[in-house]
């Protein structure tokens, strides 16, 4: 599993799916929705996020609706991983299902600033803040979930006949 490295986009607690994928853009063509992903929480995010960037957030990230456009939008904008104090269940399951790494890490929100550089090794679970030089141990995902992520999502597994 590759190491993910990029700019930190920092968010607080209870970032809900209406902030990530606002309902009013859901019926528009998908490319239009992508222009508004996380916009209410940080208007710069959709235009400036780059491949491999890492979201660091507080508690209950992704709470609310089951809309898969939320994690999918983040993935398609290039987000390499999300590390949060905790995730809402459906959002977390969606991330794994579509192959977007999501791990929890206690105290992570207090140790990263927006704009820091970070690196995450999913295999070891080590998260580094390259700006401050500090390292953190994230929770280890169960093997089944790592396998889904490595395959690129649950449908890819299904195609291969390994589900």
């Amino acid at each position: 599993m590759k190491v993910i490295r990029g700019r930190v986009w920092k968010f607080g607690d209870n970032i809900d799916t209406d902030l990530i994928a606002p309902g009013k853009y859901l019926g528009l063509p998908y490319e239009k929705l992508l222009e508004h992903i996380l916009e209410p929480a940080n208007p710069e995010f959709p235009s400036k996020v780059k491949e491999g960037d890492i979201i660091i957030a507080g508690k209950n990230f992704g709470c609310g609706s089951s809309r898969e456009q939320a994690p999918r939008g983040l993935k398609d904008l290039g987000v390499g991983a999300i590390v949060a104090e905790s995730f809402a269940r459906i959002f977390f399951r969606n991330c794994i299902g579509i192959g977007l790494p999501a791990v929890t890490c206690s105290g992570v929100a207090g140790n990263f600033q927006d704009g820091d550089e970070a690196e995450l090794d999913l295999r070891t679970g080590i998260l580094k803040n390259l700006t401050t030089g500090k390292s953190f141990q994230t929770s280890k995902l169960p093997d089944m979930m790592l396998e889904i992520l490595e395959t690129g999502g649950i449908l890819e597994m299904l195609k291969k006949g390994t589900f």
Partner: protein, 417 residues
């Protein structure tokens, strides 16, 4: 070792003896989708090109979120759903029939079922003693293809509710009190089991309100044991034979137990922008509201409209306030029509939407303007939920909403009863 209801249902559906923490592959009984999530599911299935869909016959599509469609892109999505349902043999509930969770309750959900849905409020059906949980579009695609999916058996929180519910206080208020105690992420990954004398005394419609909002605590599902009330409701819906007794073992193990005594509970309100930002109605009385919304899978049932109509009858909605009512289903709409409720709402100055989700999702039928305030019977008050991040949403019972519509400001419903 005794089992919770969640452990019992997942054991039965996986054919294994499982407990909290186990990961299982289990057969599902019902798969639901709505027009916001179904197009992605269908595209995922078409992308991988599987022909044989083992779950198609237990799949139900509901066109309820944008219904009728306000935009051409959504109209095209609706047509995609219609043609896929026809081709695959799945059930289709088209424009005008009402919302997913209400129709699931009226026609399909039964005790002991394992139900998945591409909608977070799929947990509503837990009121029947079912294990019902929301997932994303891709996970539901897996369910449609295989007729099964993987589940982590959740730990359970036992929520025991006791005491006689005071006048002017409803199951919505009780659930807001549970929200206040458990918090918006307090039950993440857990199942909630609702029990106690107050739950036993509740009608099925009241239990549906409770289970609907289980997700707002982060829970995977909210479940009520099935009992005679469940049987009576199923009988009323013409399907008494779907009844089965579902209850936990006496020695089931719970991760946590909460006791909620409702004897002195006042009507409650969740303030913007979080569902657990709960205060008594007295604390926010007098807050001006531009729009009042009564409806949704939380509180759009006939008993909800009846409570509102009792308050509205012979009165007028404040001149500067809009009252919007959306019956949750066609069945509810027709009954409200027959009983004269819709006439009372219209005479009072309110508007009646077609059955469905109405303005709750922020797409149509009542999007809020900048700086506007709405009090609603829905389940979520997140910033932007009703289509505008510059607006504010308060959550309350149908009675509090109806009283607030008359005064144009948040109002204690007890003065109108």
């Amino acid at each position: 070792m005794g089992k919770t209801i969640a452990e019992k249902i997942l054991s039965e559906k996986s054919g294994k003896d499982v407990y909290a923490g186990d990961i299982v592959v289990a057969h599902v009984d019902r798969i639901g989708l709505q027009d916001g999530t179904a197009p992605l599911t269908i595209r995922q299935i078409e992308k991988i090109g599987v022909e044989k869909l083992d779950g198609a016959k237990k799949t139900f599509f509901f066109i309820d979120h944008s219904s009728p469609s306000p935009r051409r892109e959504l109209s095209n999505d609706h047509n995609l759903i219609r043609s896929f349902a026809k081709k695959s043999g799945a059930f289709l509930s088209d424009v005008g029939n009402g919302n997913f969770h209400q129709i699931m309750a009226e026609r399909f959900a039964k005790p002991g079922d394992l139900i998945i849905g591409a909608d977070s409020h799929t947990c509503t059906a837990g009121a029947f003693g079912a294990f019902a949980t929301g997932m994303g579009s891709t996970d539901v695609a897996v369910g449609i293809i295989l007729g099964k999916n993987w589940f982590r058996v959740p730990e359970t929180f036992k929520i025991e509710v006791t005491g006689e519910t005071p006048s002017g206080v409803y199951s919505k208020d009780i659930m807001l009190e549970i929200m206040r105690v458990v918090r918006a992420d307090g039950a993440t990954y857990r199942a909630l089991e609702f029990t106690g004398e107050t739950i036993s005394a509740m009608t099925m419609e009241e239990r549906l309100t409770l289970c609907n909002m289980a997700i707002e605590t982060g829970a995977k599902t909210g479940i009520c044991p099935s009992d005679n009330k469940t049987r009576e409701y199923l009988k009323e819906m013409g399907r008494e034979s779907d009844f089965r007794e579902i209850k936990p073992d006496e020695d089931a193990e719970y991760e946590k137990e909460f006791n909620i005594d409702v004897s002195d509970l006042p009507p409650l309100v969740a303030k913007p922008h979080s569902v657990d930002n709960v205060v008594s109605v007295e604390e926010v009385e007098g807050t001006d509201v531009n729009q009042v919304y009564i409806g949704t899978c939380t509180n759009g049932r006939i008993s909800d409209i009846e409570v509102a109509v009792k308050i509205l009858k012979g009165r007028k909605v404040d001149e500067e306030t809009r009252l919007i009512v959306t019956p949750a289903s066609k069945r509810v709409y027709l009954e409200a029509l027959r009983r004269g409720f819709l006439e009372i709402i219209m005479e009072a100055g309110g508007i009646v939407n077609p059955p469905g989700c109405g303005p709750c999702v922020g797409i149509h039928q009542g999007v809020l303007g900048d700086g506007e305030v709405c009090i609603s019977t829905q389940n979520r008050n997140f910033r932007g939920r009703m289509g505008n991040p510059e607006s504010e949403i308060y959550l309350a019972s149908p009675a509090t909403c109806a009283a607030s519509a008359i005064e144009g400001k948040i109002t204690d419903p007890r003065r109108y009863l």
